[in-house]
């Protein structure tokens, strides 16, 4: 079972710059935001664990709990696959009254057995939920027994909803991987240019863009953790020569532990924005060279960067005139913002604000430089009421954000572009930036905004 210590350890991450910058006292409090009863909140730890692991495409994801935990989290993140579809199925033990009185362990075991018999997956992930944790079902023991008797790895994910935030759930998912999965398989094809990308979930299938870039450099992506991943690749992730951490708040602990255990160096980077993409490619190349890859990799990397950057700026050029002078508010969550700020400014747009909720100190510094040192433009979060006022007063022409703040913009008659996980376009890599600019242009030029801003024609004073 989970203990407090494990959670505290997770919340005191030495690999996290934010955490290291804190005073001893603050660090003790941990980094999880305290939830405020009565205030609207985001997802729970279960949800965090589920979304972090569900992109593994070829395994059974079995939720041990009442129906709605699976029902509500079933395939809601648009994470793509290039092959297996098994991850899209909703498996659950669907506990009812009597199960809760008598305990659900037997039912769980039967469910595991049935799922293996029917689908023969390389592994089963079993998710703990609030109810089964409360009644004391020991899923770790059931999983151990099932692994031994059935011969298929069955991995317990101990992140019941009540232990904390969604972010904690992400981290607990990382723990499950390091405790049960990574390092359990020795591949016969480990090479000098293998890498992993951590915290990349293949939203809208955008890993395809990244993969093509890497392949052109002869770099093999062993696995993303966990976008479009196969179980056996994740199990062999410890043979990669370098790790790139994309969503650092979610899986930096995993990266640190992989470094400690197998000596895999890691860096934090992003594929959003032109300069960030180039930086990421350079960092991957130099890390691989340090670990023994041929030095000419860097020359090829620079050549690719030069070619792609030129192509991208050229492709974006037609939009410059249309976007120039438009004011944009970035409210981005996971997507690193400074590099996107840079690209938007190059398009002649004015960035009137940017959230740095999930950015590191270094990122914040870079973003601040880009924004001309104006601290007011850097915000942790904006209360919906203030955001609404901002649009009402016409201080921004468009907002890029996730679905949660969408309606604040829309009700304040301001165009909005989805750049979070419910988006349908790929914004990663060089090509993605062109798509972003195109989509922004469309959102801004749609005639409905004119309609939205005008009162009903009979209310206009002549």
């Amino acid at each position: 079972m989970l203990n407090r210590k494990k959670i505290q350890d997770l919340m005191n991450e030495p690999g996290c710059a934010t955490n290291q910058a804190k005073s001893e006292k603050e660090r003790k409090k941990g980094c999880g935001k305290q939830l405020t009863p009565g205030a609207a909140a985001g997802g729970c730890a279960f949800d965090g664990a589920k979304i972090a692991l569900q992109p593994i495409t070829d395994v059974v994801h079995l939720v041990h709990g009442p129906i709605a935990c699976e029902g509500n989290s079933w395939d809601t993140r648009h994470v793509g696959t290039s092959g297996p579809e098994l991850y899209r199925r909703g498996f659950t033990t669907d506990l009812s009254n009597l199960d809760i009185v008598n305990g659900g362990e037997k039912k769980l075991y039967k469910a595991i057995k049935q799922a293996i018999a029917k689908h023969n997956p390389p592994a089963v992930f079993v998710y703990q939920t609030c109810v089964t944790a409360l009644i004391g079902d020991d899923i770790a023991a059931v999983c151990r027994a099932a692994t031994q008797r059935l011969g298929t790895p069955v991995i317990p994910v101990e992140a019941p909803g009540f232990v904390g935030s969604k972010n904690l759930g992400n981290r607990l998912a990382g723990e499950a991987l390091i405790d049960y999965v990574i390092g359990t398989r020795e591949p016969d094809d480990a090479g000098p240019t293998d890498i992993n990308i951590l915290g990349e979930y293949n939203v809208a299938g955008e890993m395809a863009i990244v993969k093509v870039l890497l392949e052109r450099l002869g770099i093999r992506l062993r696995t993303a953790i966990t976008g479009d991943a196969r179980y056996n690749d994740v199990a062999a992730a410890h043979t990669a020569r370098a790790n790139m951490v994309v969503c650092s708040q979610a899986l930096v602990t995993l990266a640190r532990k992989m470094k400690e255990r197998w000596g895999i160096p890691y860096f934090e980077g992003s594929f959003y924005g032109i300069s960030d993409t180039s930086e990421a490619l350079r960092a991957i190349a130099s890390m691989l060279i340090e670990r023994g890859a041929a030095p000419e990799l860097m020359e090829r990397t620079e050549a690719l960067i030069a070619e792609e950057e030129a192509k991208t700026w050229a492709a974006m050029e037609p939009y410059r005139a249309r976007l120039s002078g438009k004011r944009v508010l970035l409210y981005t969550g996971g997507v690193k913002s400074w590099s996107v700020i840079h690209a938007l400014q190059e398009m002649g747009m004015e960035v009137v604000g940017s959230s740095v909720r999930k950015s590191t100190e270094a990122d914040k510094q870079k973003a601040l430089e880009r924004l001309g040192g104006d601290e007011d433009k850097l915000v942790d979060s904006i209360a919906p009421r203030d955001m609404y006022a901002m649009f009402k007063e016409g201080r921004a022409d468009i907002m890029l954000s996730g679905g949660r703040s969408q309606f604040v913009a829309l009700k304040a008659k301001t165009p909005w572009l989805d750049i979070n996980q419910e988006r349908h376009h790929q914004y990663a890599g060089y090509q993605g930036m062109v798509t972003l600019v195109q989509q922004m242009d469309q959102a801004l030029s749609n005639p409905i905004w004119e309609q939205v801003r005008r009162p009903a024609p009979w209310d206009i004073e002549e």
Partner: protein, 509 residues
């Protein structure tokens, strides 16, 4: 035998049985004398080229797959919208069977229309006897409150004079002298069903206002509304009446088919149900103004109404934001009644819905075909949402319509690449769709062949809709109607996105 009493196959699967496949193959090989499959395929490919398109557009005589119907269809539609009214067609009964099936297939309702079944001798000696007998029989058999006479080509070619014939029939006591028998000459070889609607509506008003008795207008505060030929009339007329009630406007819908083509199943057959009362039609002369919802269905009628001293206004099918705005504001201006907050709220909800979905519609290309007024408002609504009406095709659109449509497209950047095709048919549209394809087609059920041929999804939004049920029971007029039209379009957009998706087969869109 592929067919057995234990398991009867329907035609969808029956003809895929080996016996039939063999039979078809043998027939093809031995009797059809057709060119090779390769030659057929090559010719089919050729019909998709620009070269073929040019040949197709230089076609002068033949019309292939027209998107229009003939005058009497519009005439019987207009006639059906009055209380106890029996549409009566002077001419061949075959034509009338077409009108009845056309309307019945669309509305899924019984459509009573009678014909006086002219035969060879009538064609030689004139159709007077048919009218005399026909009116007498119809009056006795079906007890209508009014019989509205229109004509088919046959009667028009031989030059039957309805006015004189009906007068003679009344003298011969086919129907009582004071029994209303309005009429209109509606030859199929002139105009289309929209012209026929106009002629018949004018004929009915003319009967009540001038022929039955010489009425003098005493202008009041009411207004008249003429809906025009509209496949969504059942719900659209009710929506218009709801708007008028909300605004507190006293209005008479002239030719209100909303209950006529939507009778309940409660054990009673209603040959006549609802419709504008004859007294309301008489009193309509005293209205302050008459508004036509479809300009190209009402031009002659409005000219006639103006001679009675009324103000008139006409619209092009009030669907979409701007079109509904214009209609309501005109009503408000004419009646002095304000547009209430409840309607303003509906408007806001529509705008809100469009903002939610605009990204999915922006820049999508549409081909639109249908009646003149529908084409105009559909194109306008598409542009309001950021979509592009690439081809706007109207078989029964003339010069005036063409100019109006061009001006409309020129009014928005989203119409910049749009082309207007007046007087062209669906075979022309096929060439257009192969050479300059769009993302979607908007039109009637007849577009389904284009859909199958070109693979471009069809959105059914105008008369006739034979192969989908009950669309006419939900309004397309007004803000609520626009919302429904938006949803229909979006459904197809999302279906297309899902169908094309492998990696992005998403739960949420």
């Amino acid at each position: 035998m592929p067919q057995s009493a234990d398991k009867v196959k329907d035609h969808i699967s029956l003809f895929k049985e080996p016996e039939y496949l063999e039979l078809f193959a043998a027939k093809k090989a031995q009797f059809e004398c057709r060119p090779t499959d390769e030659a057929v395929a090559a010719q089919a490919e050729y019909t998709k080229t620009w070269e073929y398109r040019e040949k197709n557009f230089s076609r002068e005589i033949a019309t292939i797959n027209p998107a229009k119907a003939c005058q009497p269809l519009g005439a019987v539609f207009a006639a059906a919208g009055f209380e106890g009214s029996l549409p009566y067609v002077h001419g061949s009964q075959g034509c009338v069977a077409y009108f009845r099936s056309h309307l019945a297939r669309h509305y899924k309702e019984a459509v009573p229309i009678v014909a006086d079944s002219m035969t060879e001798d009538a064609a030689v000696f004139g159709g007077l006897n048919n009218i005399v007998e026909g009116l007498a029989n119809a009056y006795k058999l079906y007890s209508p409150k009014m019989i509205v006479v229109s004509t088919t080509c046959m009667a028009e070619v031989i030059g039957d004079d309805l006015s004189a014939f009906i007068a003679t029939a009344k003298e011969k006591e086919s129907v009582p002298l004071d029994f209303p028998v309005p009429f209109a000459h509606t030859p199929s070889f002139v105009g289309s069903h929209t012209t026929g609607y106009d002629n018949q509506m004018k004929g009915i008003l003319n009967y009540f206002w001038d022929r039955e008795a010489q009425l003098t207008a005493k202008p009041g505060t009411k207004i008249n509304i003429i809906p025009g030929f509209d496949g969504y009339s059942v719900a659209n007329n009710r929506e218009i009446k709801r708007y008028m009630a909300e605004m507190g406007v006293e209005a008479t819908l002239l030719g209100d088919v909303s209950d006529v083509f939507d009778t309940p199943s409660d054990g009673e057959y209603r040959m006549y149900d609802g419709g504008t009362t004859l007294d309301d039609a008489r009193d309509a002369i005293n209205a302050k103004a008459t508004i036509a919802l479809q300009e190209f269905c009402s031009q002659k009628t409005l000219e006639y109404v103006e001679t009675k001293g009324q103000q008139t206004a006409s619209f092009n099918y009030p669907m979409g934001i701007g079109a509904t705005d214009a209609f309501l504001m005109k009503v408000s201006e004419l009646t002095g009644k304000a547009i209430p907050a409840s309607i303003e709220k509906e408007r806001g909800r529509l705008v809100d819905a469009i903002t939610d979905s605009q990204a999915w519609l922006h820049g999508k290309k549409f081909a639109v075909f249908g009646d003149p007024d529908f084409c105009l408002s559909m194109a306008a609504f598409l542009m309001e949402m950021g979509a592009e009406p690439t081809h706007v095709l109207c078989t029964n659109g003339g010069k005036e319509w063409e100019e109006k449509a061009k001006a409309l497209l020129a009014s928005s950047p989203f119409g910049a690449n749009g082309q207007v095709w007046a007087g062209k048919d669906l075979w022309h549209l096929r060439s257009l769709l192969f050479t300059e394809p769009t993302d979607f087609i908007i039109g009637s059920s007849y577009g389904k062949y284009l859909e199958k041929d070109t693979g471009i999804p069809l959105i059914r939004l105008t008369f006739p809709i034979f192969d989908r049920h009950h669309h006419h029971r939900f309004a397309s007029f007004g803000y609520q109607g626009a919302l429904r039209v938006l949803v229909e379009i979006l459904d197809r957009v999302f279906e297309a996105a899902d169908a094309a998706s492998d990696i992005s087969y998403d739960l949420t869109r």
